[in-house]
């Protein structure tokens, strides 16, 4: 579970732990937050391990998987949640802002998926859930880099799903709309008027969808993107 120290990632980590999965709580900087998530899971009777790694680092998979495999066995569920924003209008967007967003939001899920599939294919079971965004499906000026990364993630999801479905591995995406997190706290109230539900979603509402996609019941759901946006793109 990448980017699990706060926000949507924290909610997903807790939801998967409630389902009985031991959870690798990856964080980049927020050791305190990750520690809090692990403590919360353990006090509820679950198992979790905090692991520091910047997923945009090309070697991140080698930092993340071995300790988890050693402690919990093969990794059968991967949730690519870690994401960054570096907003700006395209004419002014710096290369660095483009690269940073694409590296974390798209290249990292590719590398981690590649690594996770080794064990999943052998196990004839696997669940990969990529946290995308409705911005990957519809324009949001000022986020060309973020939108491209999320649209890429959606296309990546469906293609990989088609490649590995016959090994009983599913690869799906969840595309949240506006969700109450630190990443979205600077978005104004006027945006709420564009949402039929007239409110932002909660991290728990996103986590509920991931919980379903990871479940045995979702075994025939593959390559799809589940939009969770209060009707915003309906």
């Amino acid at each position: 579970m990448t980017g699990a120290s706060r926000g949507i990632g924290e909610a997903i980590a807790r939801a998967l732990a409630e389902e009985g999965w031991p959870v690798g709580v990856n964080y980049r900087k927020d050791a305190e937050g990750a520690g809090r998530v692990v403590e919360g899971i353990e006090s509820d009777g679950g198992s979790a391990l905090a692991i520091q790694a910047d997923v945009s680092d090309p070697g991140a998979a080698d930092e993340l998987f071995p300790p988890l495999e050693e402690r919990f066995g093969p990794v059968l569920v991967l949730v690519n949640n870690a994401g960054v924003r570096a907003d700006g209008l395209a004419p002014q967007l710096e290369d660095d802002a483009w690269d940073r967003v694409l590296d974390t939001n798209l290249t990292a899920p590719f590398r981690l998926t590649r690594r996770a599939l080794r064990g999943m294919m052998r196990a004839r079971f696997g669940r990969i859930v990529n946290i995308a965004s409705i911005v990957g499906q519809r324009a949001n000026p000022g986020q060309a880099n973020y939108a491209a990364s999320k649209a890429g993630l959606i296309a990546f999801t469906s293609t990989v799903a088609a490649e590995v479905a016959r090994r009983s591995v599913t690869v799906n995406a969840v595309a949240p709309g506006l969700v109450e997190t630190e990443l979205t706290e600077d978005i104004g109230d006027e945006m709420l008027q564009a949402i039929p539900a007239r409110r932002a979603g909660t991290p728990e509402e996103i986590a509920a969808c991931v919980r379903f996609l990871v479940s045995e019941e979702a075994s025939y759901v593959n390559g799809t993107t589940l939009t969770v946006d209060g009707g915003m793109t309906a």
């Binding site: 080794r118 294919m121 052998r122 490649e163 590995v164 016959r166 090994r167």
Partner: protein, 82 residues
């Protein structure tokens, strides 16, 4: 690097191919992947198994040249020994 003789490699490969759905009786040195109904995803998984067990990395371009079970056995045996 682990060493292995061709028989051991063929045995391990047969085990893997059976797990992909190939008929054990049809798995011979001259059997092609096509005749065994072994597809590209199976070959990727086979390459992973052989790499993990014999330390021999099989790249996509190598795989393209390996048309039969025997080709793959020889490829792994040559490199596992070197």
């Amino acid at each position: 690097m682990p060493t292995a003789n061709k028989e051991q490699i063929e045995e391990r490969m047969t085990e893997a191919l059976v797990s992909f759905g190939a008929e054990k009786e049809q798995i011979k040195r001259d059997a092609t992947w096509e005749s065994l109904d072994v597809d590209s995803l199976d070959l990727v998984e086979l390459a992973q198994i052989l790499e993990e067990e014999y330390g021999v990395k099989m790249k996509e371009e190598d795989m393209k040249d390996l048309k039969t079970v025997g080709d793959a056995v020889d490829f792994v045996a040559d490199r596992a020994e070197s």
